[in-house]
Structure formats: C-alpha cells, structure tokens
Amino acid sequence: MTVDLPTPRVGVLADRAPEAVRIVLNWGRRYSLWVFNFGLACCAIEFIAASMARHDFIRLGVIPFAPGPRQSDLMVVSGTVTDKMAPAIRRLYEQMPEPKYVISFGACSNSGGPYWDSYCVTKGVDQVIPVDVYVPGCPPRPEALLHGILTLQQQIAAERPGHARSRLRPRPFAPGPVGAGELTRDLVAKPDQPGAGEQRPSGRSPSEPQR
C-alpha cells in the first residue's frame, strides 16, 4: 500500500521570522547542502573528483551523496543533457523538497556545449529547470565547482527563508510547483512477447561443437 504524502515545503512561520532567526536559518541551510549528482557525461567525473579527498567539498558543507532527490537540497547537473533525458531531470527536480538549488556544471549543461548542433542535445538545462549557478568549462576543474558552491552559498545567505530563488524566478517551463501526484508513476507494464517462455535460439549453430 502506498500513501500519497505532500512534498514538504517551508512553513509560513519561516516567512515571519525575525532577522536573527533568518540569519541562523540561512546559515544552517548553506552549510548542510545534501547534494544530488545528476551525472550525465564526462563532467560527472570532475564532479566526483571534487567530492573526493583532494578537493573535498564536504569541508564547504556539501554532503555527498543524498540517497535520492527527495532527501537532497542541491542538484548538480553535470554532463550532456539530451532531449530524452530532460523529462527525467525535470521529474527528479520536482521531487526535491523546497528550498532547492541547482548548479549547472560544464558547458554541456550550461548551453549544450560542443554538441549544440546535435539533433538530440538540449541547449542548456535551464530550458527545463531553473539554475542558480552556472560553472563554465569543458570540463570545469573541480576548483571551479568549489567556487560555484561558494557563490551559491553567498546567494543563500542573502535570501529570505521560504523565498529561495528558484521559487521567485519566472518559470516559463511550468506553471508552478508540481503536486506529489504528478511526480509518481505507476509501474510500467511488461510488453507482450509472443516468443516469451520458449527457448531463445543461441548464437551458435548446431553444427558447431559445444565447448
């Protein structure tokens, strides 16, 4: 049995909080960013390098890796976004609880990058989801991601709780926050297979000796 739970949102109380409380809330938020790596191509390797011991973004309060989008605050889209993958990115983004932030890492997810001309590459992930920080490069060095994280943390420090930038920005791609019902999907039915159950012919012809 499944239970339909609403996506968690920041309560109204946070809006009315006095300045000191806001500072504390923002301070807590910016140094505990559970990160969700949407790794799609070569840039994901640089992202992983940034999460490892040498560059180590945990010291900036970015925690790798959230078990899933529903437990994460920050999505890093690293790699080539294709038109076929775009709906999945959108779906996982909508599953993240507010406040949520997106870093677009690398030329591909910023604008399509070297594959801009391709028939299948989305010309920037910001056509699908709102992006807070763009990190340029092909691929960007892990230091560039660290700088992107610092930039994002400055943005978080300046915002009013309950008014993350992603909620305020005009969203040409969707009317507004999406309800929980739209983010779940029933199990996909197994396609009918006429030959299912029979022994599939092996690649070897019968005349050949079995090894």
Partner: protein, 181 residues
C-alpha cells in the same frame, strides 16, 4: 589511419554479407562486438553506406588471442542488407540502431519478438535519419548559434577579416534557404 595490431579488414560485396559473417564465425570469430555504418553518399565512385561489423575471436582456436576482424560492405542507397540476427542474436540492437540512424533497410531481421525493425533510441515521432550527412541540424535555423564561427570571432575579440583559411562550415548546417541567421 593506423591499423591497430591484430585487426583484419575484409571488404565483401553486399550480396555476400551474411555468408562472409558465417564464414568468419566458422574461422573462430565468435564474438559479435558492434555493427554500424558510415555515410559515404558523397563518395566519388559507388556512393552509399559503408556498413561495418566488428567481430572478435575469443575461443581457444582463435587465429591469435582476441584477434579482431572488421567486415565491411558498401550498400547503395535504398538497397537492403541481409540481417545477421540469425548468426549473432546480439546484432539485433545494432541493426535496429543502424536502421533508425542511417535508414538502412535490413532483410530477414528477427530478434525473437516478431516486432520487426523498430526505433531503438530515438524518441517517439522523430523524423529523419540523424547520422546521415544530409540530415540538417535545424537548431541553427531557429536559434542563433552561441559560439564563434572562426577563431578570434568570439565575444570580446575583434573579428578578423579575410583570413586566408577556408571558411569552416560543418556538414549538416542549414543553407541560407532556411532563413536568415
């Protein structure tokens, strides 16, 4: 182009494609690696698609350990090619992909589902064969290309006139009839 060691290339006529694959398997090339095509429709003589199939010998009686064989044939436009799915079941995906990306008709395709050649990777409703050279990359017709077309032409650098180099125009870029850019 340098040929990697252990790689044999065999050019066969289109009609003998399946027989050549069968013979190669009898020789010990028993592992189907991949199959794809190269668009040679602008070749001087005999234009068409170069269909390439990569086989490997994994058994103990291989000509040499992990010997590799490239089977290649030139298929004129619109002509069908015999399917290898009866020999190597794994060829089904490769043939479906080559069919949808290059528009190569495949004869006798059977992957056990009876559903025939159908799109594998392209989204539903996609029209055209995107890996052919004649496929127009229509993005430039609807949106300004954000990059620099020539070295030194990017934002913040002065455009250089009259470079002696040939102007770069990648294949597939829409011609002026598609509208102003």
């Amino acid at each position: 182009m340098s040929v990697p060691p252990g790689l044999v290339t065999r050019d066969v006529p289109r009609q003998e494609w399946r027989a050549a694959a069968e013979q190669a398997r009898a020789e010990g090339y028993d592992f189907f690696d991949w199959l794809s095509a190269v668009d040679q429709s602008d070749a001087e003589e005999d234009p068409g698609l170069d269909v390439v199939c990569h086989l490997m010998a994994t058994g103990p009686d291989a000509p040499r350990p992990l010997a590799r064989l490239l089977l290649r044939t030139r298929v004129p436009d619109g002509q069908p090619l015999a399917s290898l799915t009866g020999l190597f079941a794994g060829a089904a995906w490769a043939e479906r992909e080559t069919h949808e990306m290059f528009g190569l008709p495949v004869d006798g395709f059977d992957d056990g589902t009876g559903a025939g050649l159908r799109p594998l990777l392209l989204p539903d409703g996609f029209e055209g064969t995107p890996l052919r050279k004649e496929f127009v990359l229509a993005a430039r017709a609807s949106k300004a290309w954000p990059g620099a077309k020539e070295p030194g032409e990017g934002e913040g650098s002065r455009p250089r006139r009259s470079s002696s180099r040939r102007r770069l125009l990648p294949p597939g870029v829409p011609d002026p009839s598609w509208g102003p850019r």
